[in-house]
């Protein structure tokens, strides 16, 4: 099992809009072989930002990487347009192997 997380630092005042973007986004994930589940997570906040993370679970790293080269991935990411000032930095990807 493999967990893919993308960490987003969202500026104060943009949280609701960021959540709405994800809520309205078509992910096309259900058509992807090896995909198990997706969640959007809201983490800790401080004065400068709120940490959000996308969290998807896959059979293994191989099927996840195949997805990143697929048409479904292109379609899902073609929609993503964030307003200026929403992101404090580029999203930070971390992939995790489930070992226990």
């Amino acid at each position: 099992m493999y967990i893919a997380m993308n960490r987003f630092k969202i500026a104060p005042g943009f949280g609701k809009a960021f959540e709405e973007m994800w809520r309205n986004r078509k992910s096309y994930l259900d058509e992807v072989p090896g995909f198990r589940e997706f969640h959007l997570l809201r983490g800790p906040s401080d004065e400068t930002h709120t940490l959000y993370a996308s969290h998807s679970v896959w059979d293994n790293q191989k099927v996840f990487e195949a997805w990143t080269h697929s048409e479904s991935f292109k379609k899902a990411h073609a929609q993503a347009k964030s307003p200026e000032g929403m992101h404090l930095s580029h999203p930070n990807f971390e992939g995790f192997e489930v070992i226990l």
Copy 2:
């Protein structure tokens, strides 16, 4: 739903021992109300360390916090003793609310 993650920076050469510690540890989590599942995750590596994360899923933040004040928590953490040099820094806790 709530996901509690603790991030560990483990020095090169200590990965196997760190995994073994978790494998042999009694977590007592199955007796905890509101607990759903636990995984140990191995994330990205660079020259200085490998990122590991404990990953537990709970009904909500309240039951997770109740656990951190419980006897089960004390018992589970009484066992944890790491050899010198294993950890590059203190574990970094991040709690996430599942919003989608």
